[in-house]
Amino acid sequence: MSHGRDGSEASAGADASAPDAFEENVLTLMPALRRYSRSLARSDSDGEDLLQDCVEKVLARRQQWRGVNLRAWVFTIMTNLYRNRHRHRALHPEVEYDEALGHVAEEQNADPLQSRLLERALDRLSAENRSVLMLVVIEGYRYQDVAEMMAIPIGTVMSRLSRARRQLAEAMKDDNVIALRRPK
């Protein structure tokens, strides 16, 4: 398994089964986990909410961790929580569009309008397509890792990735903004 772009190493280690080591290892994952939860969520507060639910679940289920690759295990729990919530929201749509965007991204990004459009385009993706896209693009997971984490065939990973990329491109065009910066 790859460990993503930030290179957090929290996998394995027999000592990690000790309570303190477990928590310390989860703690080293927090930055990547916060980024992943935010990349799935519609707003900063939504993202923090998801992150807290995830931490709660991880701690409640610590006995179920098999002792290998804590990072992938925790990310899988986050992905499932997100899918459950997303499904719930589809049934009970009380969307908070106004507070939908966060402050952090806007502080950092030159163009707040651009971030807003990007987020709105992302919100049109299905939960499945969005999580595959984020695991690959933001968290740097390999396709095979994503397949294992989500318990789906690798072909499904590829088709979700492809759909996510095309839908995102379409959505950005719909908004009539091609403001994405090109890499060198």
């Binding site: 179920q64 295990w73 499904r87 950092q108 590829m158 910066r181």
Partner: protein, 270 residues
């Protein structure tokens, strides 16, 4: 496209964008893209997307002061919740592994799932999977109250639901498949009292087993119904219809259905 470079697949284009290719493959893809400007434009778009996404979410990859507190305060709640489930927890540790293995195996060939029985073609059994799927959609997404009676009161759950269904309900033990019981609830099926049992694996992936009385008193073999990524295996066995539903690969669901069938059958016989 008939030129000699027409061997680049869609998957390779993604791998190229995501930087998963080695030097020679990268060069091959680039040579191909030069000859396919439309795809090259699309690839540039994907690269731009990736760069924008990375830039957009990078600031969130940070520690916050409250993180340590989050971990320690939540821990107490976690421990307080854990004990009722503790006996099951050890057995379901293999949950993720089994799910992954089922996928890797790919073409999982089902064991003899159901005895040979005449297939019914009437519409009425079809309402069973539909009801099972709505129940799944409504309750599997509930974070706080997915069930009325939790797994810690399993004996009570079996008696209570069994009484309402007028059926000697035995709750299947799916721990061998990495699934632990979350609990159950009473639910209308075919306009009368039915039962829904909910299970989840070590990663929080949920599955439901729906039981409903079947007035027509007929039988069907195993059938599958899928809708929007939801898969349902269902069968009718005399007075009771059963439906196993989840957002999991069919091979996994099939194992669960097979196990339920086996255990329900056994409880009938006893």
């Amino acid at each position: 496209m008939t030129d000699e470079f027409s061997t680049v697949s869609e998957d390779e284009l993604h791998a190229y964008v995501d930087g998963h290719l080695g030097q020679p493959e990268r060069e091959r893809v680039e040579a191909w893209l030069e000859r396919h400007p439309a795809r090259a434009e699309e690839v540039r778009e994907w690269q731009a997307q990736a760069a924008a996404l990375q830039q957009h979410y990078a600031p969130y990859a940070r520690d916050e002061e409250g993180d340590r507190g989050l971990l320690s305060t939540r821990r107490d709640q976690g421990d307080a919740v854990a004990p009722p489930h503790a006996p099951v927890l050890r057995r379901i540790a293999a949950g993720l592994l089994i799910f992954a293995a089922g996928v890797l195996a790919g073409t999982y060939t089902a064991p003899t799932l159901a005895p040979d029985r005449p297939l019914e073609t009437a519409e009425s059994p079809d309402s069973l999977p539909r009801q099972a799927q709505s129940a799944f959609l409504v309750y599997a997404s509930e974070v706080r109250h997915p069930v009325e009676v939790g797994a810690d009161q399993q004996a009570h759950l079996a008696t209570w639901l069994g009484k309402r269904l007028d059926y000697g309900l035995k709750i299947p033990d799916l721990s061998a498949l990495g699934l632990s019981l979350v609990g159950g609830r009473l639910i209308p099926v075919n306009g009368t009292a039915g039962a829904m049992l909910m299970y989840e694996d070590g990663s929080g992936q949920r599955l439901t087993v729906l039981l409903g009385r079947n007035r027509d008193n007929r039988e069907t073999s195993f059938r599958i119904a899928s809708q929007g990524g939801l898969e349902t295996f269902y069968w009718i066995d005399g007075e009771i219809g059963y439906a196993v539903t989840g957002e999991v690969p069919r091979s996994v669901l099939q194992k669960v259905a097979d196990e339920c069938y086996r255990q329900f059958e056994a409880s009938d016989a006893s």
